[in-house]
């Protein structure tokens, strides 16, 4: 029995600059972005004020939910962050959920989350500088006392790293546990069938003993937690942290 836990598979290599590897992460991310843009385009065609269609009701519900979510957590002052939070949430959730249809999840690759986290880190820093000015931003590191400056800098740099690793670690640990359980279920069903049908001779016995019957059903239940629940959970937490960090950056 061999268990394989791999990184992103390389689909093809571009010949420039000594070979640029195009991984499944990149391709799937672009597919998700294209699908989301297509969905937005389709949902917002033919909007009316009176006798609205079901499509428009869905679109209005989504926009209102996200807008309320942002308004309650960041305050009215930041309601223009709604589209950004909605984009990150849908991208993150769809990137994790794509593993349900057997595709490589882009969020199981640290590069994806690190990109988002660096974007958020840039926004936090920009908000801080806009609130207190460049001098105020630099002086903010010496609070409450000047001795703590190195620790403040470390904790500032830890923000994007912890955000990226949290999302990445949750998705990858789900995948690793799923793989391990899948392999151990195959082993267990093989052992049970050997015990029950060990007396069957010839090729028929081989076939009967090789059915991994325990793999039916049980991985699906785990997948509901690790793929479905965890995907939405991590997308929600990433957005929540983004909002809290940006809102607190403007409060000084």
């Amino acid at each position: 029995m061999n268990i394989e836990i791999n990184g992103a598979p390389i689909l093809f290599t571009l010949p420039w600059f000594g070979g640029i590897n195009i991984t499944a992460t990149l391709v799937n991310s672009w597919v998700i972005v294209a699908v989301l843009i297509g969905l937005c385009y389709w949902l917002t065609r033919g909007l009316k004020v009176r006798d609205v269609s079901k499509k428009q009701l869905v679109a209005e519900f989504l926009v209102e939910t996200i807008q309320n979510f942002v308004d309650t957590n960041m305050g009215k002052k930041f309601s223009h962050y709604g589209p950004f939070i909605a984009a990150i949430f849908s991208l993150s959730a769809c990137s994790s959920l794509i593993s349900l249809i057997g595709q490589w999840a882009p969020t199981a690759d640290l590069s994806t989350e690190l990109g988002w986290a660096l974007l958020v880190f840039g926004l936090i820093t920009a908000t801080k500088i806009r609130t207190g000015g460049l001098g105020g931003y630099a002086l903010g590191f010496t609070k409450p006392i000047a001795v703590l400056t190195p620790f403040n800098i470390i904790s500032e740099l830890a923000t994007p790293i912890s955000m990226a690793f949290r999302h990445f670690g949750n998705i990858v640990s789900g995948g690793v546990i799923n793989t391990l359980i899948y392999a151990s279920l195959a082993l267990a069903s093989h052992g049970i069938l050997n015990l029950l049908f060990g007396w069957l001779p010839g090729a028929a016995g081989e076939v009967v003993r090789s059915i991994p019957f325990l793999q039916v059903g049980i991985p699906a239940v785990l997948s509901v937690y690790f793929d479905l629940f965890s995907s939405f959970m991590q997308a929600f937490i990433f957005c929540m942290l983004t909002m809290l960090y940006i809102a607190s950056a403007a409060e000084e």
Binding site: I5, F165, F168, I237, M240, L241
Partner: protein
């Protein structure tokens, strides 16, 4: 040969030790969820807010465990390759 075996054994033992980091978040998150249950029991009307805050706190408490997990992954999958090439 012996050097490689020592490196591989060190990586495996280190990965196991790194996952001890899972104990802390387990205790911490359990404590947070218990307190949240108490709060909901006392004031059932603010269930939504309490749940949201609890999930966020759990996510932050989880960070150290995730660091341990990533260290374990690095030791298992990256360490042997890198150190194996280093030793030749």
């Amino acid at each position: 040969m012996l050097e490689k075996a020592i490196v591989l054994a060190g990586c495996a033992v280190g990965a196991g030790l790194a996952l001890i980091a899972g104990i802390g978040p387990g205790i911490g998150e359990g404590y947070a969820v218990g307190k949240a249950c108490e709060a909901i029991g006392r004031q059932p009307e603010c269930k939504g807010d309490v749940t949201q805050t609890m999930l966020l706190g759990c996510a932050i408490a989880e960070t150290t465990g995730i660091y341990g997990f990533v260290t374990g992954l690095l030791l298992l999958f990256v360490g042997p390759i890198y150190l194996g090439g280093f030793l030749g």
